[in-house]
């Protein structure tokens, strides 16, 4: 699989705070990368760097096939102004705003794509609703529909399941699964070790000034989670008690 993005010896942070150093990884098409870490470990900063909103302190980002014209992006819900006077279909259409005609806006083809995205996100009946009448889960579905419309090879999702119920989470995960099948690269910032990880091929663990990247099984070990300050020793012992016991028995 071709790499969409290559990071080489990358350090990220601010002039007076280095979040991590020496990260190298290849983000390949068709992979899903979970970015995990404690609060303040640099998860959202990492996403902002990928979006080009800030530069790394050192190292290099390389786009082997050129930087995509469009990067699908879903910010945290807390950063969104829900009182803005706009309908759901217009919010979704923002995913294609650069293709709008100056006077007539979205053409028939564009309107059909908006309708299809709303359908796929499971909210075709909310198209004419104002944003302020939506619940958190409904708004998140609308924002997912906007990402669908962006039709981007690289998709960045910053804590997409923070304010949604289980059924919405399951529906949104099915969309992420389809993106992977369509050979898109997906970066998924998650705050907890949840069922989301079953849908990820790789993980990037941030914290304590370091970054570790690899397959989910390689990265999410009790030792690494404790070393990056994501779990305390006792939390790790409790969470991984089954696998530790199995290891002990195998050792005996």
């Amino acid at each position: 699989m071709a790499a969409v993005l290559e990071l080489r010896n990358l350090s990220l942070g601010y002039p007076d705070l280095t979040l991590f150093k020496h990260l190298s990884l290849d983000m390949k098409a068709g992979t899903t990368l979970a970015v995990l870490g404690a609060n303040g470990s640099g998860k959202s900063t990492f996403v902002k760097m990928l979006l080009g909103l800030m530069d790394p302190l050192a190292g290099r980002l390389h786009w082997p096939s050129g930087r995509p014209g469009e990067i699908g992006y879903l910010a945290q819900l807390t950063e969104f102004d829900r009182r803005f006077p706009i309908r759901v279909r217009d919010l979704v259409a923002m995913g294609a705003w650069r293709g709008f005609d100056l006077w007539s806006g979205l053409g028939r083809g564009g309107r059909n794509r908006v309708a299809a995205a709303l359908e796929e996100a499971g909210i075709p009946d909310l198209a004419d609703r104002s944003l302020h009448t939506l619940s958190g889960g409904q708004l998140q579905r609308a924002l997912f529909a906007r990402v669908i419309l962006q039709d981007a090879p690289l998709i960045l999702l910053d804590e997409p399941f923070a304010a949604v119920d289980q059924s919405t989470e399951a529906h949104l995960l099915s969309i992420i699964k389809r993106w992977r099948e369509e050979n898109r690269a997906v970066v998924l910032v998650v705050h907890d070790l949840s069922s989301v990880l079953d849908h990820c091929s790789h993980a990037l663990l941030l914290g304590n000034g370091a970054a570790t990247h690899g397959s989910v099984a390689e990265v999410l070990t009790p030792d690494l989670l404790v070393a990056h300050g994501y779990l305390s020793q006792s939390q790790a012992s409790w969470m991984f008690r089954g696998s530790i016991e199995q290891k002990g028995q195998a050792h005996a």
């Binding site: 080009g52 990067i71 923002m94 609703r129």
Partner: protein, 300 residues
Amino acid sequence: MLELFAEMWSFAFMRRAFVATTVLSASVAPIGAFLVLRRLSLAGEAMAHAITPGIVIGFVAAGLSVMSLLIGGLVAGVGVAILTALLARKTILRSDASLASLYLIALAAGIFILSAAGSAVPLKSFLFGSILGIDDASMMLVGGVAAVTLVAFAFLLRPLIVSTCDPIFFESQTRRPWLVDQGFMLLLVLNLLAAFKTLGTLMAVGLMILPATAARYWASTITGQLVLGFLFALASCWIGLTLSYFFPETPSGPAIVLVAGGFFLISALFGPLGFGGRLRKPSPGAKPSVEQSYAEERIQ
């Protein structure tokens, strides 16, 4: 009564005032709408004060000509906008505190220079506007600014909507997001200058903010916000100018802004997104009300 209106309409300066404010309403309505939606209402007010020294220095140097007004105001407005951004980026102050500090200095400097120069123009008309001051050159200024604003909005409207609704998404989708911000600020300064003769420096922003905030209580779409904002601005100008004519001691600026204030209060009381919406009980099975959604938003 009709005779009084006919008498008012017989004066060329009144006809000019009506035409100028009608064009001005079309120009300031979209600016006001986005000032409110971008949460820049107070920044707009501050900017109106910040351009004062530029206008005054232009006036003292070259008299009350449209060019001196335009150049002086633009230099002061753009200067304050750049200094505000610099202070916010390079020092501990946030942009609101930076802008507040700069506009206070600018306003004080403007009034000081105007008084020290012993100007022949009454301070009252400078601060609050005068319908008598609308000459042909002022009409040209208002018309030119309106044309520039409306053409610019044809290009800026969609980027403005995206950047206002979801600024982080917008920044992620464009290499030069500052172009929209700075373009909007430039249009704001131009419109403040266009409104200066009719409304004065202290009241100029009133015609932008109050019709927009009044429209906010009724409109749930951008189109509705823009159209209603224009209609409120237009009605405020026409009624305000009429009041100013019937009460000759009244400057036109406060009269127009006071009428706009009336629209705001009525909208806050009766608009579906104001107190009026809160008093209505939702019917069973109805869509969630605005206040339910706000409550939910706060909980989340």
